[in-house]
């Protein structure tokens, strides 16, 4: 324990500076909060004004936002959640398995796969987006239940790369001991290796989570958007419609989409920040 090392004036000034900076940082979110309680007409007119007796509409925007744009918010949120959870789980389990295989089996297949993964990391999504749409449609990967396969495919590169970096540092002796004890590869992996991978699992999981949850273009192009929307697609959809743009309700939709993430963040911020720091792999 370090005893109160008496904070100098310089550090007090710095603290004050950071307090101000944080307020600036939070301002955009604050802006959404106040506007989500204002009547539509006032959002555009006086975007920075606090709700007044005249402009305050209570929860009306939120109630409207739930069914706004002829697409229920809850449905979009549900699809977003479904896609994110399934995709991240798929990526974690299957990429960890593949990475372990690549690390432990020294074969041509392993090598090809490894270099393909490396390669895929430098390919921007734009390169494959049009063709991916055709393939996904042909194979019926255009529903929220099947699109995680696309995410597994497109997200495999980074995930395998990160898992590999960690697995290479694991002592082989433990696995050998398991093998000598008669443990088959499947049991060895799930009972011995996977638990050891926990820090990387968290790290990869968080990075993929942030990617999939906020992803706009991939689901927009791949999903059958005549039926399915995710939250980012819904927000973009609300923004562009002829004649009616209900800014108040849109702000409420944005609020409803941000609140769950902020709650998760507040509870898991230690893991998230650690995950990001650990995930910053050197390529």
């Amino acid at each position: 324990m370090k005893k109160a090392k008496k904070f100098s004036t310089a550090s007090t000034i710095l603290t004050c500076f950071f307090v101000v900076l944080c307020l600036v940082w939070l301002f955009p979110v604050f802006e959404v909060v106040i506007n989500s309680f204002k009547e539509n007409a006032f959002v555009n007119l006086e975007p920075f004004a606090l709700p007044t007796a005249e402009s305050f509409v209570g929860l009306a925007n939120y109630i409207k936002g739930l069914t706004f744009g002829n697409y229920p918010f809850v449905l979009a949120a549900g699809y977003s959640l479904l896609i994110t959870v399934v995709s991240v789980l798929l990526i974690l389990v299957f990429c960890a398995m593949s990475a372990w295989y690549i690390a432990r089996v020294n074969s041509t297949v392993s090598k090809i796969f490894y270099y393909l993964c490396l390669f895929s990391m430098i390919v921007p999504f734009q390169m494959v987006m049009f063709t991916l749409t055709f393939t996904a449609d042909k194979l019926n990967l255009n529903t929220p239940w099947t699109i995680p396969i696309v995410y597994l495919g497109f997200g495999a590169g980074l995930a395998i790369f990160m898992f590999l970096g960690f697995i290479k540092g694991l002592p082989l002796e433990i696995e050998e001991a398991a093998a000598i004890d008669g443990c088959g590869p499947v049991r060895t992996f799930f009972l011995v290796v996977l638990p050891m991978l926990k820090p990387t699992l968290i790290s990869v999981g968080i990075l993929e989570l942030m990617w999939v949850w906020n992803d706009y273009l991939l689901p927009y192009l791949v999903l059958d958007r005549t039926k399915f929307m995710t939250i980012p697609i819904l927000v973009q959809y609300l923004k562009g419609s002829y004649g009616t743009v209900d800014l108040g309700a849109t702000m409420a939709v944005i609020m409803m989409s941000i609140i769950p993430i902020i709650i998760v963040y507040i509870f898991c911020q230690k893991h998230i920040i650690k995950g990001v720091a650990a995930g910053a792999v050197k390529g």
């Binding site: 295989y101 393909l116 495919g153 497109f154 706009y216 963040y265």
Partner: protein, 299 residues
Amino acid sequence: MAKKKVTNVNLVQRPIKKWAPLFILPTFAAFCIGFVWPFLQGIYLSFCNFNTPKDAKWTGIVNYTKVFSDAGFMNAFKNTAAFAIVSIILINVVAFFIAYALTQKLRGSNLFRTVFFMPNLIGGVVLGYIWSMIFDGILKQYGTYLTANGTYGFWGLVILVAWQQIGYMMIIYIAGLQAVPEDMLEAARIDGANSKETLFKVIIPNVMPAITTCTFLTLTNSFKMFDQNLALTGGLPSVIENGAKVNVTELLALNIYSTYNINKNWHGVAQAKAVVFFILVAVLAIAQQAATRSKEVQQ
């Protein structure tokens, strides 16, 4: 890769090999569907005129000649390059100094860290929407608006992206700074180095790996920027310059996307643009890695 030879690797390796279908097949199959096949098909289609892959007709390099004579694409390239340079410098410098300050036993530094990271949790489309409202609100006071000219749109995007990514890079820098060996700092202090000297002679060389990572990430992020660009200005304003049409604030990724949507005659051109874009990103990424790698080795 191989650091040291493990003698009885076969004990582990051989049984796993038998389980290859379980361990790598699912990922590999998905990888082929989600990446390899679309990639190959993309290269093929960039030489075609197509509406769907079914009706693709081979046209040779026509699409590529159109790419390089397209004023919109060239403008988008310039924008992207300028945007990348500005945002790499701005984000990294600010993120580094915030990280540096936050590691100096500052009261409330955990709270600050939490706040600065927060924008990363919000998607690019939503961010673009929020910021366009803010910028328009501010500019309104001065009787103008965000899409009035390219300058507002450009700096608007820079501010948005800085606001979003500084927190992320800060986290990486903090990790890097915390890894600076305490005894080296102690030694510098004993040698009577002032804080400036310590920063430049001890700390920065030691956080070089973090700097490499962060510049790499900001570089690729800026080149691939799409959602924010779409939602903030959508490429507007849209003007005619020297007899050609240009979306002034459009970046490369958005330009590719909107080219595809002109009509089916442009599908092939959009795909060719995507190939050019891929090569550009790949070359930059490899070059950046090679350059910083050699620097790290020297130290």
